[in-house]
Structures are given as C-alpha cells and as structure tokens.
Symmetry: C2
Subunit: 204 residues, 2 copies
DNA sequence: GTCTATAGTTAGATAGAC
DNA sequence: GTCTATCTAACTATAGAC
C-alpha cells in the first residue's frame, strides 16, 4: 500500500503532534518535516483544522476499528480477549510486549498518544462528537464480549450485563489513565490486578 | 480571605483556560477579563508559563490536598469515604449533588477541568513532575484508607493491600474518564456499579 | 500538484511614565 | 503596582508562476 502525499502530510502532522500537541505544530514545521511547501499542504487541506479531522479519523477511529475487529474475529475465550484489550490499549499485542525490544516502545508512545487526543478533545470542542461516538462504540464492543461470554457459559449466568459492561469500561479507562500518568507503577502489575478482579467477579 | 491581584489574575487565567485551554488564552484576553494591563500582569508573573505553574498549584494540587484532608479527618466508615471520593472527584460533595440546583453544575465543570489538565500534561512536559507527584499522593491516600479499613475490621482481613489500592486507583481514574468522555452514561450509575464491585471484593 | 513569496493577524513581552 | 504604547517574532492562509 503506497502512501499518497495527503497521507504523508497527515502522518507527519500526527507524529509532530504527539510530541508537541496539535496546536503547537505549525504549518512551517509540517513543511520542513514532510518536504512539502505550504501551497502544497493547502492544496490537500482547506485549512489546518481539516488536517486535524483527518488525523483523528485515521489514528483514533480507524485504529480502534482495526483492533476491535481483530479481537472480535479471534476464537479466544473471554479472559483471553480481555487480556488482549489490555495489551492493545497501550499499543501492543502480547507477543510484542514480552519480546526483548519491547522496552523501547518505539511502535507508538501511548503516553503521548492519549495525551494528544485528550488535548484535542478539550481544545477543539467541535471534534467531541467523534469522541462520544468512539466511546459508544467501545461500550458496545465490551457489551458484545460480555454477551458472548454468557452465551458460551464462560462466566456466571446471573450476572447483570449492563453493570458488568460499565465496570469493564471503567477499569479499562482507568488502566490506560494509570499507565499514562503513573510512571511508578508497572503496567504489568496494573493489568494483572485488574484482570484478576474481573475474573473474580465473573467466575462461576 | 480577600483576594489579592495576583490571585485574581490567576483565577481569570484558570477560568479562561477551562474554556479554551491554556495555550489558547492570550495575555490580551486575560487583560480584558481581569481588568489589568499587560504591564501589571508581567509585574506579578515573569512570563506566561509562571501563570501556568501557579494555576496548577492552586487549582490542581491544593484542591487535592483540601479534599483529601477533609475525607481523612472525617469519621466515616470505609464505604462512606469511598463514596465521598467519587463525589469529590467530579466536584461535588454528596449534599450538593442531590440538591435541586446541582444539575447546572455551575460550581465547576469537571469535564473542562480534567480536559484542561490533561492538555497541560501533554503540552507542557516540564510540568509533568507535578502530575506524577499528585498521583503518588493519590495512591498513598488510597492506601491509607485501605489500611485503616483493615485495622478497623471493615473489610476482609486476608486482602492484599497493594492489589486493592491499585484496583481502587484504577476504578477512580476510569470513573472520572467515563464521566468526562461519555455523556450517555449517568454519573450516578457509573458510581453505583463501581462502588458495588469494591464492596463485593472487600466484603468479609 | 507543487512551488515561492508575501499578506494580514495575533501572539508574548518590554520600556518608561505615573 | 498599574498604566499606555509599542516591538519583534510567529502564526495561518493566499496569490500566482510553473
């Protein structure tokens, strides 16, 4: 899949934004880093805000859909799927996480990633509907997993689907937040603690 | 407690930042909203970044210390203290939340509040140590509550303090995140679901 | 589709009077 | 301690040649 120039500009804007925040990335910087001129950039995007929208769609929305569908289509049991979500949320699948060069975390820096999109949510209120939609999609995804687990008799059958879904949603959100803001706690420990609680309250 | 002019400027900067993000608030806007001139502002602060630091200390750090000490000094049982934290994290104590005019949420808009500080964390990396410190303090606070509950025989005695503390920290983080980003779910429901899980895994 | 050159605006910060 | 006036730098966006 060859990248067209619009995609290159978007990627450059995204990578620069990870470091400095979208508002602190100037068109001049995008010019320098991409090799394209201002005129060229404004040929592809009518203004800077359109770059932002494109960026959100590619790196937030599409990214979610991809990892969601990957997990959906796997044949893993409920607990395994939950574990995969924990890894994916910080940009890893389990194999990568346990490999030796995972420590560099080069693939993507989840700390900057979530920081960037939180900033965008706050400073560009016109983009908020996109975030709300994403959260509804996440909720529905988790609910499907819970319902599937119930059907497959993997968790205790008298559990309330809505409550468990909300709880799982909460824990996943908090887990990401802790990983981002708390450099003292090991990701693995946060993950294991919370997976254990989920197991405890769902076990038959 | 009469406000001095430095405090007024800080408050104005904070309120404007809640709406637009600190980076999008210009000195000119602070001038207009506060009634002070640029010269006056730069008499109190050597540059714009110093306003930011002062703002973080007053509205993030001191705010945490106040609500933490209030809960610490209360004589409530463990579950009651947990409930209070849930309310305080979104800017209410329970009484206010249940009163009729709570719906306006005028006291402070927690959605903008957390959005603002997330943005600052991302876009002003030099301030991150302050955030890390705050998270360690939060962790220690939760741990003290757990230890206290153990001493008072309020929760089952064979529970692992560290695991429970990490779990509580995760849930509280996720709860705030859901409240901020998910306008479809009722705050009360998120709160109740998670309080119930905490109760379930700690009950004797 | 990409370039150069530049218009037009706004930002943070300072000097010096009172 | 507060004011007015102003400087310099940086930004987004556009016009027009190729």
């Amino acid at each position: 899949m060859k990248k067209n120039n619009k995609q290159i500009i978007t990627e450059v804007a995204f990578l620069l934004s990870l470091k400095n925040g979208f508002n602190n990335v100037s068109i001049k910087e995008i010019q320098k880093a991409s090799g394209f001129s201002a005129g060229s950039i404004y040929y592809h995007f009518k203004d800077k805000n359109e770059i932002l929208l494109h960026m959100i769609n590619v790196y937030l929305i599409e990214n979610f859909h991809e990892y969601r569908d990957a997990i959906k289509n796997s044949n893993d049991p409920f607990t395994k799927k939950m574990e995969s979500i924990f890894y994916h949320l910080i940009g890893f699948n389990k194999k990568e996480f346990n490999s030796s060069h995972s420590l560099t975390m080069n693939k993507f820096n989840y700390r900057e990633y979530y920081g960037l999109f939180s900033s965008i949510f706050h400073q560009h209120p016109e983009t908020r509907p996109l975030f709300y939609k994403l959260h509804v999609d996440s909720y529905n995804f988790y609910q499907e997993l819970v319902e599937e687990a119930l059907e497959n008799n993997e968790i205790k059958e008298n559990i309330d689907v809505r409550s468990l879904t909300i709880f799982i949603h909460t824990v996943l959100k908090g887990y990401v937040d802790l990983c981002v803001f708390n450099p003292d706690l090991s990701i693995k420990e946060i993950m294991e603690v919370n997976l254990k609680v989920i197991e405890e309250i769902t076990k038959k």
